[in-house]
Every structure is written in C-alpha cells, then in structure tokens.
C-alpha cells in the first residue's frame, strides 16, 4: 500500500511539472529575447531604437532605428483590420442568426477549414496573382505594397475572426432574443441592438486576438509588402514590417554581431506588443463572461 501511494504521488508530481511547460517555454522565450536583444541597447539607446527612422544595419556606420519598420507594421495591420473586421463579424452575424440549420452545418466547418490555409499560400497567391493584377489595374510602379499586404492579410484573418465572433454570439442567451421579439422588435433590430451589444466584449476579444495575429504574421508580408524600410506616405508604397525584417535579414546577420542583436531586439518589441494584446484579450474575455452572468 505504501508503495502504491508514493508511486501515485510521483505520477502527480511528474504531471504537475510537465504541466507548467507552457509557462516554462514562455519564460524561456522572454529570457532568450532579452539575452540576445539587450546587447543592442548598449550601442543604441531605446529612444533612438524605437523612434529612429533610419534602418541601415549593414552599413559601415550602422543605424538601428525601427520607426519605419514599426509604421510599416502598423499600417499593414490597420489596413488588414479594415478588411477583416467587417467581413469577419458580418459573416459571423450571418452564420449565427440568419443561416438556417442546414446552411450553418455547411458554413461553420467550411470557415474552420479555410482558417487552416497556411500563410505561405496566401503570400504566394498575393505575390503571383494579386500584386501583378493590382499593378495593372491601378497603374502602380509595383503591386508589392502595403495595400496588397493589408488586403491579403485581411482576407487571411477573416475565418479566424468569424469563428471567434460566432462563438461569442452563440453565448448570448436565447432569452434575450425572445424578450426583444416579444416587445415587437424585428429580427434585425434584435440582432443589432440586443445580441451584438451583449456579445460586445466577446467580439472585442476576437478583434484583439485578430490584431495580435495579424501583427505577428510573417510570410505573407514578407512576400507581398515590398520590403522597403522607409516610412510610407501612402498605402501604395512598399513597406517592411517588423516581422519580415527579422525573417529577411536573419539569414545574413552573423551570429553575435550587432545586427543579430538588433534583430532580436525587434523580436522583443514584437513579443511585447503581442503579449500586451493577449493580456488585454484575457481581461476583456473575463469581463464578457461576467457581464453575461456566466461567471462572478
């Protein structure tokens, strides 16, 4: 009996340790990013790094300002949100409220499956089909620009936003709909004035997670956004977001060089941004559940 008990406790202990793996890796990533990124700030101040607009890491007199890269990321992300939020939330509303049972049974799995298309495929499609098309259509010097990247990224994010929003909508109790209809509201009024606001925090959570993922997206922007490290003045200029900078230049940066550390510093910025977004989504999501009375 004694042996049994201690064996059980060993199992429990092993499981407990393994369970913290995620936290362990998260901590590890933070550590590594700091370790490899911090040396940069010995050379360049944090302010110069974040707000410097000249990114010339390979020059003799290297400069490490990421403002142009940051704005590139911001423009592309904002543009993508303009595409994916209306389409994604609108689709979710349709599936949740308007689609009949048979339509729903087809649409929901379809959207989930489409969410699995790899980003490289989107990037490839953007590069060989969309960019030349836009170039001809709009008489641009090149189709590889922030606009194209936003478009492709936005479409890529729609299934995710749609699935998450639809989940949030499905949590709204049917009793709200019934109460609204019983007062003489139409289905559309009920949808827009009762269901959507009730699901507001849940959908905001979906939106924040969407922003986070779009910002962290690498391959699509790498292939489609054009790769010029300059602060853009129009959507039709090529840009180079943070993620594609890392992916494109890490191959050339010698290990241990300042360029190497600079790229890790960029990763640190990226990591921090997505971390903040994720925490915000957590808080919102809890508030959503409390609002609906699903949790105290």
């Amino acid at each position: 009996m004694k042996i049994f008990l201690s064996k059980e406790r060993v199992y429990a202990a092993v499981f407990a340790v393994l369970a913290f793996a995620c936290l362990f890796f998260l901590a590890g990533i933070t550590l590594v990013l700091f370790k490899e990124g911090l040396p940069l700030f010995g050379k360049v101040g944090l302010g110069d790094f974040l707000f410097g607009s000249r990114w010339y890491p390979t020059h003799e007199d290297a400069e490490y300002g990421i403002l142009s890269l940051l704005t590139g990321s911001l423009w592309v992300t904002a543009g993508a949100m303009l595409v994916c939020l209306p389409l994604g939330i609108g689709s979710a509303l349709y599936i949740n409220e308007i689609a009949g049972d048979r339509q729903k049974a087809v649409l929901k799995p379809l959207v989930e499956i489409l969410a699995g298309i790899p980003s490289i495929v989107f990037g490839f499609f953007g590069m060989v089909v969309v960019a030349p098309f836009l170039q001809r259509l709009l008489h641009l010097p090149t189709g590889l620009c922030a606009f194209t990247a936003s478009l492709i990224l936005g479409i890529m994010a729609v299934p995710t936003i749609c699935s998450l929003s639809e989940d949030a909508l499905s949590y709204v109790p049917a009793s709200y709909r019934e109460a609204s209809l019983a007062l003489g509201a139409t289905r559309w009024e009920t949808l827009i004035k009762v269901v959507l606001p009730a699901a507001g925090s849940g959908i905001s959570t979906a939106a924040i997670l969407g922003i986070s993922r779009i910002m962290g997206e690498t391959m699509t922007v790498l292939m489609v956004s054009g790769g010029a490290a300059i602060i853009p003045h129009s959507f039709f200029q090529p840009v180079r977001p943070l993620t594609s900078t890392i992916a494109a230049e890490m191959g050339e940066a010698a290990v241990g060089s300042m360029h190497y550390h600079a790229l890790f510093a960029i990763a640190l910025v990226l990591f921090t941004l997505t971390f903040i977004f994720n925490i915000a989504a957590e808080i919102l999501s809890r508030r959503y559940r409390i609002k609906l009375g699903l949790q105290r």
Binding site: P118, I246, G251, V255
Partner: protein
C-alpha cells in the same frame, strides 16, 4: 446616479409605499409610436443582405485562392512531381525531398509536443490543481498561443541551433515546431478530457482504482478521438508553417536524403518561399512553386477537413 426629473416628479418625493396603476393618470390621445412598419421591414431586408454579402465575399475571396492554386498547380502536378528529386537547378523534376522533409518535421513536432501537451491537459483536468495553478497555466497557454511564429524561429535558433549545438537540423526544427503547436494540443486534449463523463471516473474509483489507473485505462481511451482531432489539426498547422523553420531546419537544396536528426531538410512551405525569392529561373520555378503550393494546400485542407469531420461526429455523438 442621476435623478430622473420628469413632469410627474417636480422635486417632491411623492413615492412611499407602492404606486398603483390607478394613481398614474390615464393617458389620452393617440399613441406616439410611429407607424413605421414598412420602414422596419425594409431596414431588415437591407441589413440581412449586407450580412449575406459579407459571407459571400469571404467565401468568394477564399474560394478564388483555392481556384487559382488549383489552376496554376494542376498543370505541374504529376506522379513524377511528387516522387522525383529536383533537377537542373530547380527548374525541373519534383519536390519529393521537400515532402519528405515536411513529413519528418511534422512527425518530430508531434513526438515532442504530444506527451507534453497531454500531460498538461491531464494535470489540469484530472488532478484538479488549485486556482492559482489553473490560472497561471491557462495564462501561459494563451500567451504562448499568441506568440508570433517568427519569434519561435528566433528562439529555436538561439536555443536549439546555437546553445544546444544541434545546428540547422530536423531536430531543431521539430522542437521549435513542437513548442508552436503545444497550446493547440493542450486545448484540444482538454476539451476531449472534459467531455468524458464524471460518472465513469467515479465508477472506476469506487472499485478501488487509483487515479492514475483511472486515467490510463478509462479516461484516456474514452478521450482518444478528441485528442486525435487535436493532433491532426496540429499536424496541419505544423506542416504549413515557414517562419519557425527558416533558421532552424530548412535548406533550399539538400543533396541527399536526411540521414540523421541532425541533417538539414527541405520543406514544402520553405520550398515555395525559396523558389519565389531566391530562384534564378522565375518562369519554370514559379510553375514548380504553384505545384508545391497546390500539394501543400491539398494536404492542409484534407487534414483540416478530416479533423473537423471527426469533431462534428464526436459532438453529435456526445449530444
């Protein structure tokens, strides 16, 4: 809190006790509700149409991507394409080594992530730790899930390639991909474990089984389909990821089969990227890239489809 001032309440506090219906003066005259019935119906029609356009456009865009890839890649897709090695500076031949590389990387990722992920899910569901542990782990999972894939790549580079000295290899790539898919495996496994009815656990424990025996013999087998779904979805995810393997495993061209976990490999997603950005013969190589994209797309769609299908079946069985 605002005090509502209306015609009926001009500052005096007239309300004590209940206020019966009779004491509210009956209203005379027509109802102020506008008879805007047709307006409402028109608004509803317009609104519903708008929503329909959203899903329609979404499916149109995504469908056109699938269409173009099929159209462009279909010309190149032959049995030879899948089974041969690339020839002639990547302008002819097939993508077999890339397929093989993707297979090894994905397999390695699952081998790395599944035990760990399953253990975590089991701990959370079966050993019911206190609130602190639950919340801490949950935050860990959610945040790990949100880390950009390129950051995983850098982590893999610094830790597996450099620090542990595995070099650019299948091993490094698999481990990196493993961490990437870990949250997904944990979530799916959790869902599967929670779906196992408590009555089964209680029955087992009441017979004198230990917790571990209950988990091993009763709970896990019952949760297997759900866990499998999670594994399948993660396979799809791992197969399509490029950024994590950019610096940790992938090479544009390997001369021979990977003969050890420490060899470099080619991989499908990386192949597409490399052909388009480092290729020297755009015309032929674009065609090969189309073919690779098609193979990858079919692979991933098939895998996602299988997983979603299994999950729907499970959900309808469980009710």
């Amino acid at each position: 809190m605002k005090r509502v001032k209306t015609a009926l309440n001009d500052g005096h506090d007239l309300f004590n006790g209940g206020y019966s219906v009779r004491e509210v003066p009956p209203r005379s005259g027509a109802s102020p509700f506008s008879k805007a019935g047709w307006n409402k119906q028109a608004a509803q029609k317009a609104g519903f149409f708008l929503l329909f356009m959203c899903i329609f456009l979404t499916l149109l865009f995504l469908g056109s991507i699938v269409y173009f890839i099929f159209a462009g890649g279909g010309k190149v897709l032959t049995w030879g394409f899948l089974t041969q090695w690339p020839r002639n500076a990547m302008t002819e031949g097939g993508i077999f080594p890339a397929l093989l590389g993707t297979f090894y990387l994905t397999l390695g990722a699952i081998i790395a992530a599944l035990p760990l992920g399953l253990a975590c899910a089991v701990y959370l569901c079966e050993y019911t730790p206190g609130n602190f542990a639950l919340n801490a782990i949950r935050i860990g999972i959610n945040n790990l899930a949100g880390v950009p894939s390129v950051v995983f790549g850098l982590f893999g580079l610094a830790v597996f390639v450099k620090f542990f000295g595995f070099g650019v290899s299948v091993l490094s790539g698999s481990l990196t991909l493993g961490i990437l898919i870990l949250p997904g495996i944990i979530s799916a496994s959790q869902e599967a474990l929670i779906a196992v009815p408590n009555s089964l656990r209680e029955a087992s424990l009441a017979l004198g089984a230990t917790r571990w025996q209950t988990i091993k013999k009763i709970v896990l087998p019952q949760a297997l389909p759900g866990i499998l779904t999670g594994v399948i979805l993660s396979v799809g995810r791992a197969a399509g990821e490029t950024a994590p393997i950019l610096f940790t495993a992938a090479a544009f061209y390997t001369r021979k089969y990977p003969d050890s976990p420490f060899s470099e490999v080619m991989a499908l997603p990386y192949h597409i990227y490399a052909l388009m950005t480092e290729g020297t013969h755009p015309r032929q190589q674009t065609a090969i890239a189309y073919g690779s994209a098609l193979v990858l797309l079919i692979l991933v769609l098939f895998i996602s489809g299988a997983a979603v299908f299994i999950r729907q079946r499970q959900r309808s069985i469980n009710g």
